[in-house]
């Protein structure tokens, strides 16, 4: 009986892993062939399409735009999220539960609707489509995330640590800089990293709110109009590689730092 369960488990796990990796393997594999269609049979390794991607100004500038929007909007989201989490965790504010609910509310609404709302508002207010507009949208989706992560990590112990610092003579700004931020660093970094990932990958809001200068997912979307295209494979593989590096980095630095 145990043996059967084990064997069945193995088979099942392999099948699911196969399902999960199938599209990724196909993507990377056919980015490496020189023919104009990324379809079987595989005709041998070539970096032709990677060359094409890296010399495509539209794609490379979209990549820079994406990094800019992601880092600046994540910085804004994590700053706003941290300050508000600190305020709510440390002080008794009237209507605190309701206000915290308001900040986390965007988490329950789909990106499409958030983007639509901003589009209607900006259209009405005469704000032109731009990377800035998309960045504002990215802060809207990432602020509640940063707030929730950081707020959940601010327990009583954390509050006592700050009290101790104040008791030992630290003024408010030194408590913030020397105690709260370093102690909360893992949560702050996790919030920032997740925001970066979500912003980097976000499509609909950028699609609705940008026009000429746009982000990488939107530029990739534009490439898709030409159907199956090895260039899309190449740029997709590159994005995948960057994400893997980030995830491994995150895993090694942050998650391994837990005290023994």
């Amino acid at each position: 009986m145990r043996r059967i369960v084990r064997i069945a488990s193995w088979l099942y796990a392999i099948a699911v892993y196969g399902f999960i990796f199938l599209p990724v393997v196909v993507l990377v594999l056919f980015s490496l062939q020189a023919t104009s269609f990324p379809i079987p049979p595989f005709t041998g390794p070539s970096l032709r399409w990677y060359d094409a991607v890296l010399s495509d100004v539209r794609l490379t500038s979209a990549l820079v735009n994406s990094l800019l929007v992601a880092s600046i909007s994540s910085l804004a989201a994590v700053t706003l999220g941290f300050l508000s989490a600190w305020g709510f965790a440390r002080f008794v504010l009237p209507g605190s539960g309701l206000l915290r609910g308001l900040i986390t509310l965007p988490l329950t609404v789909s990106y499409l609707i958030i983007g639509m709302g901003l589009l209607v508002l900006f259209n009405w207010a005469g704000v032109p489509k731009s990377l800035l507009a998309a960045g504002i949208g990215h802060v809207v989706i990432n602020l509640p995330l940063c707030f929730a992560i950081i707020y959940s990590q601010m327990g009583d112990h954390q509050i006592n640590i700050e009290r101790a610092a104040r008791d030992l003579g630290a003024p408010e700004w030194k408590v913030l800089l020397l105690i709260t931020v370093p102690v909360m660093a893992p949560a702050i970094f996790a919030g920032f990293f997740l925001s970066m990932t979500f912003s980097w990958d976000e499509f609909v809001i950028s699609f609705l709110l940008t026009r000429f200068d746009t982000t990488l997912p939107v530029e990739i979307w534009n490439l898709l109009r030409s159907g199956l295209n090895p260039k899309t494979n190449a740029v997709g593989s590159l994005v995948f590689a960057v994400s893997i590096v980030l995830v491994v980095f995150f895993e090694l630095t942050l998650l391994r730092r837990k005290p023994a």
Partner: protein
Amino acid sequence: MSTSANNGHARALPWALVTPALGWTLLFFVLPFIAMGFSSLTAHEGGGFTASNYSQFFTNPSYWQAMVNSLEVTAIVTVISVLLAYPFAWILAEQVPERWQRLALMLAVLPFWTSYVVRSYSWLLVLAQNGVINRALTGSGLISEPLQLANTRFATVTGFVHFFVMLLTLTIFANLKQLSPSYRKAAADLGAGPVRTFLDVVLPLTLPGIMVGAFLTFVLCIGDYITPQILGGNNELLMPQLVMMQIGRRGDFPLASALSIILMAVVTIAYLACARWLKIERA
């Protein structure tokens, strides 16, 4: 004990901390909603108050059909994803040796971190007329003509399931690991076999977590535009595609607003219906 404020500046400080975030949310989340609400009640041609954007949804069968399609696809995706992910998470948590679990889980969700747009496109490579699957099937002589896999509901569901299996594996795995091993030991000690233990102890205790994961799947799936647009094509429209179509082709913001609000209302109703189960988790 409450942190009572002692001095004058401590009264202003907390508000100074929370106001930027609250202000941002009000200005760029609540206000857009109000704007969208107003917009949905204006006529596309010439402005002026009208409820026709909403009545169109109920009278135009193709709009109505988009909602039915969305609900069907979302339901199918949620059920299949949970059914696939639960045994997988269970194997990772129970059958894989402890020291390999972290790696096994990381591998299982690795494609989760790739670009969402690229992931849908990758499925197109797999499912296309001359894609990997059709080549393999015709090559082995199982079929003579390639199957129509892309631009179908099947393709949309496959793309969604791929994404949500990873997401649910993560949440269910976390759920199973949180379960204290003493529950299982106690059940075994009291004479329950492995199957009974699973059905009577493990499954009920992880059910609230599954509900939360399923709800998350529902919300993310019903609001997604990318997967149905890339994989499903325009043969069968889902709600997000219908919304985007109003903006893209016709610039009809009022109708797009009304459809968005209807979509949100459906999610809210689903939330209220599930709230009873979702609350169990918080208690």
